[in-house]
Amino acid sequence: MEDSGMCLAVPLKLVEKNGKNGMGEFDGAMRRVRLDFVPMADLGDYVLVHAGFAIETIAPQQAEADRKAYKEVMDALK
């Protein structure tokens, strides 16, 4: 998961949470994520992340569709 276009928000699965700091997983890779704007997010939740900040939680089944789409767009941008 590289740096992408600015507006892209990637759905990460929250696997670690420590106050405002967390770790999210996508496609096996781990990524630091700030949780300032998703105070209700729990471990196992999926969050949409933009520029290192989770901006929304999303339902699991929808998250999977988004994750697939994100890969598509990333491939398009390569």
Binding site: D3, G5, M6, C7, F37, H50, A69, V73
Partner: protein, 400 residues
Amino acid sequence: MRLNEQLEALHKEYEDVKPGSVVLMEICGTHTMAIAKAGLRQLLPEGIRLISGPGCPVCVTPAAQIDRILALSDRPDVIITTYGDLLRVPGSRRGDTLARHKAGGSDVRIVYSPMDALELAQQNPDKNVVFAGVGFETSAPGTAASLLAAAEDGVHNFSVLSYLKTTEPAVRTLLKDTAHPIDGFLCPGHVASIIGAEAFRFLPEEYGVPAVVGGFEKESVAAAVIRLAHLVHHAQEEKNAGETTGTAGDTESTGTTETAGVTKAAALENLYTRAVTAEGNQAAKACMDIVFEPCDTEWRGLGRIPGSGLRIREAYKAHDAERRFFGTEGEHSEDQQTAEGNGYTGEPAGCRCGEILKGVLSPEDCPLFGRVCTPMDPVGPCMVSSEGACAAAYKYRGIL
């Protein structure tokens, strides 16, 4: 209804509509790309013209603002941190980019998040780390959070050059241009995550323009555009019906009113409910509000738009790169020298990005497109940004 069924129904609806007479605008760089990749324009009825507006924050940053970032990068005490998109955007001089300055020895680093920039500042206490704050409401809360953290942790050498912009004032400016009417808006999904779908209510209510908040997968964008096209057609049918059945001549009759164009049928629909609520993200909005206040700022192509920028509040001025390095009161001041309001001042010769950004010109209609201006050697930001209209058109050219 499946997508191809929706498309069929739409073609039926639009079969008597004059080619290109209905204008739909998207204002999100990711939508620009998704639409281009899906070849959506070729699938829509001819009556519809789908155009790209100022949805790419890098693209709407005027050359003079880029020049400022470039100037800062040359200071030996400064580390410029930026989103990757900005690296190859030229300022007012052709080829003058952060990438070139970096190659010339300036310390320019790509970061994924403003928090990475903050961390860099903590790791390099002897340098001034400046974050190039370009973006819309999706990026603004994170930028605000980094400033809050800098203030809290006393990271004195961290500052932000805020060229953040907000969506609504630009949209209103576009709608004022009666020479180029816009009949429907595809609203940016992640901006809407932050500000809420209701933030776009003004479109149907004040301008009679239907609006749909769309997501980003191919199907999702297509569905949103199709729905928008349908709403626009429906609104226009209603309006026409009102005009033909309304009484002629007598303006005092109750049938026709002076609030022309604001039909009851104009609607706002949120098709991206998985990520967008009516009111948006309160925590993010609150964070933005603590750190930023509205200011006037210049948009490439649109000129100066009052209240459309975000500047760092007085309370956080210690981390305002504008004040620190340019000594100005937060706003991108007389340095702009674009007091004439001419969005083209300082832009490279022949560059038509300004018109592209307003959706008035298509990428293919720019004389430089593909000939002089290519992704390898861009003239203006619309070609170099990964979300620019020209970059999208170039990348997916030849898709039938």
